[in-house]
């Protein structure tokens, strides 16, 4: 255990390597480690953001689906309403048409009846005139007695 120049040599060696370490070994490694730590932190925050935006997107999607569903049921309801309306309209239209046709047929029938009555009346008048001619055994001037005939016809 004797102290000698070895001590000085070791001091020099020590400071040389301390300098070497502080200059060439420590900084690049720490820089790399810190860069990686930053990368990891950035990645984590990006992942967090992605998660948040995914949540947002799914919320929006849910909203859109709910809206679409509501709209669809509205449309269905409207369609159903329209259908029943149309059915109702068609029923009404058919009823009116039926009524109208029924009325037309009725009036036609009435016309037919009145025409038949007219014809019958004329024929009956003619028959009556013929009968009266036969009864009176003389010719009745149809022209001269037209007013009488008409009167008769009216009374039928």
């Amino acid at each position: 255990m004797n102290l000698n120049v070895t001590l000085v040599a070791q001091v020099v060696t020590f400071f040389v390597f301390v300098f070497f370490c502080a200059k060439f070994v420590w900084p690049p490694m720490i820089k790399a480690i810190e860069a990686r730590q930053k990368q990891i932190a950035d990645g984590l925050s990006a992942a967090e953001e992605g998660k948040k935006s995914l949540e947002n997107a799914s919320k929006q999607a849910d909203e859109a689906i709910a809206q679409a569903r509501a709209r669809a049921s509205e449309i269905v309801a409207q369609a159903e309403k329209r259908v029943s309306q149309m059915i109702e309209d068609a029923k009404t239209a058919a009823k009116t048409e039926g009524e109208r046709e029924k009325a037309a047929a009725k009036s036609e029938i009435e016309q037919e009846v009145s025409r038949a009555k007219e014809t019958l009346r004329t024929q009956v008048a003619t028959l009556a005139v013929a009968g009266a001619e036969k009864i009176l055994k003389r010719e009745v001037d149809a022209k001269a007695h037209a007013d009488i005939l008409a009167d008769v016809q009216k009374q039928l």
Partner: protein
């Protein structure tokens, strides 16, 4: 590994393994250089820091390979320790701590190589009859480290507090600013400043040196016969396992004390 013709006694065995290979750089005992201590420490430093430099040069901030992950683990460990004690710019103190830790750990780890295997290598490969393989069991190394740290401590005291501030601290802490307390404060600080490098260096030296001695005693016992072989072998195994802890622990303690001293130099009272 005693030289031929020399009788192998316990004393000669131990003293042989604890004798430094010296060269003289000039007149007087001071100019003796322990070539083994100096060269072993230098080679270990070159290997250790060369490896770190090699890994760091190829370091990526992307996915690290296993080599880089290992080195990063070391850096993180040192940086965490420094962060816990030293509150300030770590640009110098952290690499200082890393250097101390790695170098001391490597020098201590030379103790893992059984002395006679190390001696066989230096004897036959390097043709050096005497070669003490553990640099930290040389008090020159531990004192060199402790005094370097001490010098840095003084430097940072002056840099952070200024000469006036440091002298004020020397006289006015820890007991108070009363003028009657000045001598007491100064005496207290003097003892503290002297004891710091002494305890710092001698703790490491004593642990490693004692570890070596115990190994040698066990190896000598192992040379005495069958019972000695078995008992010495078992005990040496136990001591070697325990020594793994000592080697790492002493390097860790040395680093932590370095950081603590640096932190104390940066904090004003």
């Amino acid at each position: 590994m005693a030289a031929a013709g020399q009788e192998l006694t316990p004393t000669s065995y131990i003293s042989h393994h604890l004798t430094n290979r010296t060269i003289s750089l000039g007149d007087g005992p001071f100019w003796t250089l322990h070539l083994d201590t100096f060269l072993t420490a230098l080679v270990l430093a070159v290997i250790g820091f060369g490896f770190l430099w090699w890994v760091v040069r190829g370091a990526t901030s992307g996915i690290p390979n296993k080599r880089q992950a290992f080195v990063e683990m070391l850096f993180d460990f040192v940086d965490d320790q420094v962060k816990g004690i030293f509150h300030g710019n770590r640009a110098f103190v952290a690499p200082l701590a890393l250097t101390v830790f790695v170098w001391v750990l490597l020098m201590n780890a030379m103790d893992f190589i059984p002395v006679d295997i190390a001696a066989a290598f230096t004897e036959y490969a390097l043709h050096q009859h005497e070669w003490k393989p553990v640099p930290t069991s040389d008090v020159n190394t531990t004192f060199a480290l402790a005094l370097s740290v001490f010098a840095l401590m003084i430097f940072y005291n002056l840099k952070v507090k200024g000469i006036g501030g440091w002298i004020h601290e020397l006289f006015c802490s820890p007991f108070g600013t009363n003028i009657l307390l000045w001598p007491l404060n100064f005496l207290f600080n003097l003892v503290e400043y002297v004891s710091k490098p002494l305890s710092h260096s001698l703790r490491l030296y004593g642990n490693i040196y004692a570890g070596e001695i115990i190994f040698m005693l066990l190896w000598m016992w192992a040379a005495t016969g069958l019972v000695g072989q078995l008992a010495g072998g078992v005990l040496a195994l136990g001591w070697a396992i325990f020594h793994i802890l000592i080697v790492a622990l002493q390097a860790y303690i040395f680093m932590m004390l370095t950081v603590v001293y640096m932190a104390m130099a940066h904090e004003s009272h």
